[in-house]
């Protein structure tokens, strides 16, 4: 099976007032794949996420979803509605709302004012929320205010919110940062369950063990440029990677 391309990034450069955060980066991420992006601090990982999700405009280059939708001209909300979900580094949930209300907001994305005011959830939407709550393991906590959840639970809830929106591309920025071993273990399971033929997952992470367990393919960035690409094992043995990244590490 040759999977089709989910994200196509071509000749991407981002300059912040003379500082080149990304230089001529070309990447292709197919549907069905879980891709890890690794690199030292300042390698451009977060900038890449910012460009894909519309937070930062590229200086040069293009980003396509599905090979046809140009993302560089769209704003954050429009890109999200195209099916790109992003998990932030620090857990970002709506603390004054309950767990299920958080997921409900994700399910209702794109609704107009009238629908937000009037319409009740459809049976399909309710089932979707329920499925998501089960998948992220928070079904028992649905009525709790999300502000009272533990750090790990908040991370899962945020992933659940993205999942509820049925994303084609899921971007996860350091999903296991600050997690206990047990929480990391559960997150590995969760990410493996999120993988689907119609979805691409991109993980930015420092934890090498974690990366080797979830990623199909690893992309190494260094100072805004592509350094190497391959399986975790081959990347680990690449002398350049060892020198600039793992060697420091």
């Amino acid at each position: 099976m040759t999977p089709s391309t989910a994200l196509y990034i071509n000749g991407l450069s981002v300059n912040f007032g003379g500082f080149a955060a990304l230089t001529n980066l070309t990447l292709e991420i197919p549907y069905g794949q879980t891709r890890a992006i690794i690199g030292a601090n300042g390698a451009g990982k977060t900038t890449l996420m910012d460009v894909i999700t519309g937070k930062t405009r590229p200086t040069l280059g293009e980003v396509f979803l599905d090979k046809s939708i140009d993302l560089t001209g769209l704003d954050e909300a429009a890109i999200a509605r195209q099916g790109i979900g992003r998990k932030f580094q620090k857990p970002s949930v709506f603390e004054a709302l309950s767990v299920s209300q958080n997921v409900e907001l994700a399910v209702r994305k794109g609704q107009g004012f009238a629908a937000m005011l009037m319409s009740r959830l459809t049976t399909t939407q309710r089932q979707r929320i329920e499925e998501v709550l089960v998948t992220i393991g928070l079904a028992e906590e649905r009525g709790r205010l999300s502000g009272t959840l533990s750090h790990g639970q908040k991370q899962w809830l945020e992933i659940g919110m993205l999942l509820a929106a049925e994303p084609r591309v899921l971007l996860l920025d350091e999903p296991v940062a600050g997690m206990s071993d047990e929480e990391t273990e559960r997150t590995v399971g969760l990410i493996k369950r999120l993988a689907a033929p119609e979805r691409a997952i991109v993980v930015v992470e420092h934890d090498m063990d974690f990366v080797s367990r979830v990623a199909d393919l690893v992309t190494v960035l260094h100072e805004g440029q592509l350094l190497g690409e391959g399986s975790m094992d081959s990347v680990r043995q690449d002398p350049r990677v060892i020198q600039v990244y793992l060697g420091r590490g």
Binding site: A80, S100, L105, R108, M116, I129
Partner: protein, 362 residues
Amino acid sequence: MPNLTSFTQRGRPYAFSLLFLAIAAYLPLAHLVIAPGSAFHLSLFLINLIGQIVCFAMLALALDFVWGLLGILSLGHGVFFGIGGYVMGFYLLNAAYGDTQVLPDFMLFMGWDKFPAALGIFAHLPVAVLLAIVMAVAVAAVFGYATFRSRINGVYFSIITQALTYALMLLLFNNDLGLGGNNGLTGFTSVAGLPLAQASTQVWLACASCLVFAAAYLLLRSIADSSLGKAMVGVRDDEPRLRFLGYRTDRIKLVAWCLSAALAAVAGMLYVPQVGIINPSIVSPLLSVEIAVWVAIGGRGTLIGAVLGAVLVTSLKFWLSASMPSVWPFILAGTTLLITVGLKNGLWSAGSLLPGKRGGGA
């Protein structure tokens, strides 16, 4: 589906509006039917006071809708209150001129010999009401569009709103504007054909304030309890998160902001015929800050708390600023400090800590 919490399952807070319907029903009885001397009789002075306080409560409601639920603190809601008030003033000038055929004093001082045609637009009450709302929403929309699109948030937003109200005050102080300068507009004689000097007119105005308040509360409460209200809370708690979920948060803010402005304008319209005057002090930064103080004291994000705060503080102010005017500012400052430091989110949240009671989030 097992107990999936729906946004609309609450109910009890709606009963709060019944209180204002009851007051609206009681006021005519209390003055026009029940004889003076009875314990249930209310003097015209008190009824007028209640009417004014309800207008302030509506103003607090409008502010809490954007501050408590949406997280944007306006320190310039007096602008919208003032727009409503001045437009009502224009209408009342028309009505007074129609009654007496005498030009208002400030026009005579300026050497005008006939009623200006520009103010004639406001000669009919329904037109004036509509224009006031349109003007308030237009100002709010232009200001909101510019600030929300450029993502001006937090304290920067508050400072700009404060500047806005100050600028409007300076503008209105200007005699050449033809709106009475620092004396403002006064000399009103009748509203909707009813003489203002007549007791029953004052009673009906207070009544109308209560009824409009009840309707406004129901409207805002139903929005707060809908999914749109939850999205507003989402903007307050983590706007980028909501934006990256696919919501146009700037639009949510703009719509709520304009609605709040319209409500403040309506409050201003009800306020002016009851006090009989409108002058630039209504758009002084002081009043706008005071509105925020009411909401902070009462408790943000619950709507009820804001109303409670406004009623409490304005009642105290009417009482204490008359009986011990020099002490009042210290009492207000002291109370504000005590409550904001000691209760975190105002009086209503303190009530909601009691078992069985519910308050807002946060």
